[in-house]
Symmetry: C2
Amino acid sequence: MDPSTNEDGVGLAFALLASAARMAERIDEGVARRGFSGLRPTHGFAFAYLAPAGGTVTGLAAHLGVTKQAAAQLVDELEAKGYVRRGPHPRDARARLVELTEAGRACTRAAEEAAAEAAGAWSEAIGADRMALLRRDLERMAEGGPIRPTW
Amino acid sequence: MDPSTNEDGVGLAFALLASAARMAERIDEGVARRGFSGLRPTHGFAFAYLAPAGGTVTGLAAHLGVTKQAAAQLVDELEAKGYVRRGPHPRDARARLVELTEAGRACTRAAEEAAAEAAGAWSEAIGADRMALLRRDLERMAEGGPIRPTW
DNA sequence: CCCTGATGGTCAAGCGCCTTGACCATTGCG
DNA sequence: CGCAATGGTCAAGGCGCTTGACCATCAGGG
């Protein structure tokens, strides 16, 4: 394989991973600044899954790409902090429906604002038109597989 | 803040994080497929730091954004697997110079190929011209801070 | 020329988050 | 109805990282 082609791939890969790291940091920092402390990015992915209509622990596990035990532990933590509530599942007595509380929704909004803030800063640097393109391309790349990063 | 603006930011953020996750997976998988097993993405970042001229454990720690103990442990592991070698430092008797072995360089090349492969597949989907733009924008975003993601 | 603070490195202990493994309750299909 | 499949939990363990303490060496000012 042509080495110079490798160079390009490596450059893109590093840029992608590093910029994602920056993004995660900024959102985390923005969320904390809005008064929600002790939350890690993984929690954000959980919120995103639960926000529309709640969900099950197993569903969350699949969404995050972790075992259901890990997901259950995450939910325990969020429940203890008052961000989610476990209730009976309407159509399955085995399952429990996990839903966001009002605090959870407030936290979700804070995360959205933080994400918008980070994206906005970036948009200023490269231009809004580029930003739209960028998003489309990234979404294309992101297809398939769980959300939570492995490394 | 305008909610629709939030939506955009969230979309971009998720796309970025998820696509980075896919990229890490693909590289990891590509490296494993080339015969280098038991290596995690963090190791790749270490290789990248050490490749040009070697380095110290403390320098590596700063590069990765972890404690020097964690970096030392990483180097122990890489040394045990034969990818790096610890030698005396030419200008500082306190420090030890960590360098890639031939196996380490081979592994680095494999990682580069895997990254190029992943980037190539992506390039086919969105076009090479977009790809160049994308890389520039991402590099701009990535500036500052250690490489290794926090989450 | 030393003394002293800064720096590179290591040892030891602990912790957070995740995994594997086993198990129970409920479901829904043959 | 019977039984594999599914949702969930309990228990134990591990891996990678952190904090804390420590030693050896370096470097600059008295």
